[in-house]
Symmetry: C2
Subunit: 436 residues, 2 copies
């Protein structure tokens, strides 16, 4: 059988990796897929760079539409990124009857419903394993491996840049800004790191996982997103003393009122495997009612790890593209007619426990006033850590760990505590998850 | 569309879990699979017990052949276990045109080639996610998630009983026999634990993973198998001091001479995630040339975790059974005509580093004699730990960590060292893997 022909749109880091791995492992991949898979055409505005990568092994063009218009191309890989031209080209490729593989989480988290509907209409597949956690086959685990389960929650370290920064802050006791510069120097953070450090990238991925886990549409606009830019070294150290590490987690959780969808720095017990995922590595925990806790770990970014996921999608499509479209694995794990309108709850309704750090005057009755507010708010305390004030100082840190509560209640209590004259600085509050 | 009808052969622990999860989550599963999935017929010699589980929701019979003969049944789940009647029934179900789902690693590791060939011939699927690492979708990861890669090695904690025993030995400083009894009392070990503690169960699973990873036939008879029964507490403690933990690993590794396939107690660096997998949990590491290191963690046994994998297979089959049989995902990851005869190397050819414990006379020149033998054997030393002999004692322990070497060379050196008059007891040698 002649090889399946693939067109590649965008040959930057991941695109080069995809081309190189597909070439290097072509024999191994053919033995698995039952048919050769070849990138025969590449579109990139930087034609020179593209030629450097592919040599004479593929046709290089500047115009992506030439690839889409080529009737010999069966699958189009979209690695341009962003919401703009990538959306247009993905839709055009689908309209032309091409299967589409993409690593573009931003595109799918925001325009996924439109794209999946178009693909269904046209009878083609859209595959996106590379969009979440790079080379880790987490999409496949959620969509196929855990189908027996009512999934209860998904929680992941799904942004390598921020995990690298947090690991360095903890290991070396450095501040955020210093580590960010180092990460940029090492290539772990981009020149404009906003999407990473503000949690937007993780929220795109958490949005995709929420759809796969719970059978709801992608709803990035409903996600609660906090990054790590305000995180202070002091809180990393206090957390450590209390047996916790701070990780930027993307969380999707089913609760009585609906689905929680949120990204924020989170205290996690140090003894959990996920707390020990260091550097730029990714890991996702999935809790199902039958399987219990599972965890998936690996490289979440980079040229070849991401290419690994892109190519897995190519093999899936090669193996399955002759199947009746109605009988394929559905894009979002649940059949398209079976998505539910389960609401995504507002952050006020989210249930977590909390870590609080209060800078307080070193005088009698301070702790009593604070704990009274918490008690009156029906928030119970798990642990208190009070530092002796240093010699000559008249203020000190009080750290409180609470049991689970509804966030709205905690916010009201925080307002009251902040108003106490003995509370001398803005209270730091961080969410804590036991992940048990 | 009417539900797909499933017949269940054997309703013990996993069978009950499968029936219960399928009933409890039927709506969620239908939304994913696009069609209801119902166990309508159950065969078990213990008809009473079967009736207690299924009530009047399925027909119960004593004779498995009645299930296979039922033309309404699309899929047969084999949960009888063992190599005997399970093999006969699986082949009969295939011959009757039923898809087969099984958790039976022993059956597939030994008779897999025959069973997969029969299934191919008849155009049906044989699915076995539950056969390795319980609820962890590791078969799917190897067969579909990592298809881009030349897989370099797979190493897993794939037997919960032995991992529980090793965790307890380390935590509580207890001896093997004591912990085994405790494990039996808690239900983590069977009344006859031979298959678990001698490494046979892990070897069945490693055999399956070797086929999936490297595109070779299942060859259980070529596996090197060592259990944990001879492991001593002293070595667990010395390993700990040197920064290692001892785990029973199933390893399949590609090297120049062929494929290594082996199960044995192994020193693993304490800082690796897999070293921190405790109790009855399972974890599998997979190293691919593109993706790098990935890890999959979860419950490797138990009623509902294993049921999770069985049902995932049911959903896969339900989603894909209308596909052209030639276009389905191949049973062993590689297309059946594309398996290679890469040899499985003998244990003498295996390459690892070693931990050695020698009980030696406390006198001059002892260490020099030992290190000379190693040097002459071209085995280089990574670290030496020598205990001061206790007051009044005239012997002491010397611990040596070596760099990588071919096992045959180490065995020869061990024979020489054992012959030294200053070596007072049988030398303990354990393999060590950095898993980096």
């Amino acid at each position: 059988m002649k090889p399946i022909q693939v067109g590649l749109l965008g040959i930057g880091t991941v695109g080069s990796g995809t081309f190189n791995v597909l070439t290097r492992n072509q024999e191994e991949i053919r033995r698995r897929a039952g048919r050769g898979i070849e990138i025969t055409m590449v579109a990139d505005l930087n034609v020179e760079r593209a030629r450097e990568v592919v040599g004479d092994r593929a046709q290089v063009v500047a115009d992506a539409r030439q690839v889409i218009a080529n009737p010999d191309i069966d699958i189009v890989i979209e690695l341009i990124g962003g919401y703009g031209i990538a959306r247009t080209l993905a839709l055009e490729a689908i309209a032309a009857g091409k299967h589409v593989v993409t690593a573009n989480k931003a595109l799918l988290a925001v325009h996924g419903s439109e794209i999946f509907a178009a693909a269904r209409e046209r009878g083609v597949m859209v595959a996106f394993e590379a969009a979440v956690a790079g080379g880790i086959p987490i999409i496949k685990a959620l969509r196929e491996g855990l189908t027996a389960n009512q999934i209860q929650w998904v929680a992941g370290i799904i942004n390598g840049t921020t995990n690298f920064i947090l690991s360095e802050m903890r290991d070396k006791g450095l501040d955020f800004e210093v580590v960010l510069k180092e990460a940029q120097r090492l290539g772990y953070a981009e020149a404009d790191p906003t999407f990473d450090i503000e949690g937007v990238d993780a929220a795109h991925k958490a949005t995709l996982m929420s759809a796969l886990a719970f059978g709801i549409p992608v709803q990035f606009d409903k996600a609660h997103v906090e990054g790590i830019t305000k995180l202070q070294g002091a809180d990393i150290r206090y957390a450590e003393q209390l047996g916790y590490r701070i990780k930027l987690l993307g969380i999707a959780r089913r609760q009585a009122a609906g689905i929680e969808l949120r990204v924020h720095p989170t205290l996690v017990p140090s003894k959990r495997l996920i707390a020990n995922v260091e550097g730029a590595m990714n890991a996702v925990m999935v809790q199902g009612d039958a399987v219990g806790t599972t965890l998936y770990y690996g490289k979440g970014a980079g040229s070849e790890p991401t290419a690994s996921a892109v190519i897995a999608d190519l093999v899936d499509i090669t193996r399955l593209h002759t199947a009746d479209p109605e009988q394929r694995v559905p894009h979002l794990a649940f059949q398209p007619d079976e998505l539910h309108a389960t609401p995504i709850v507002s952050i006020d309704q989210v249930v977590t426990s909390f870590y609080l750090r209060l800078r307080v005057a070193d005088q009698k009755g301070v702790l009593a006033a604070i704990t009274r507010i918490l008690a009156e708010s029906d928030i119970s305390i798990d642990a208190v850590l009070q530092r002796e004030s240093a010699e000559g100082e008249h203020s000190t840190d009080v750290i409180i760990l609470t049991h689970e509560t509804v966030e709205g209640r905690m916010r009201a209590a925080l307002t009251q505590m902040q108003a106490l004259p003995t509370v001398l600085a803005p209270i730091v509050s961080l969410r804590k998850e036991e992940l048990a």
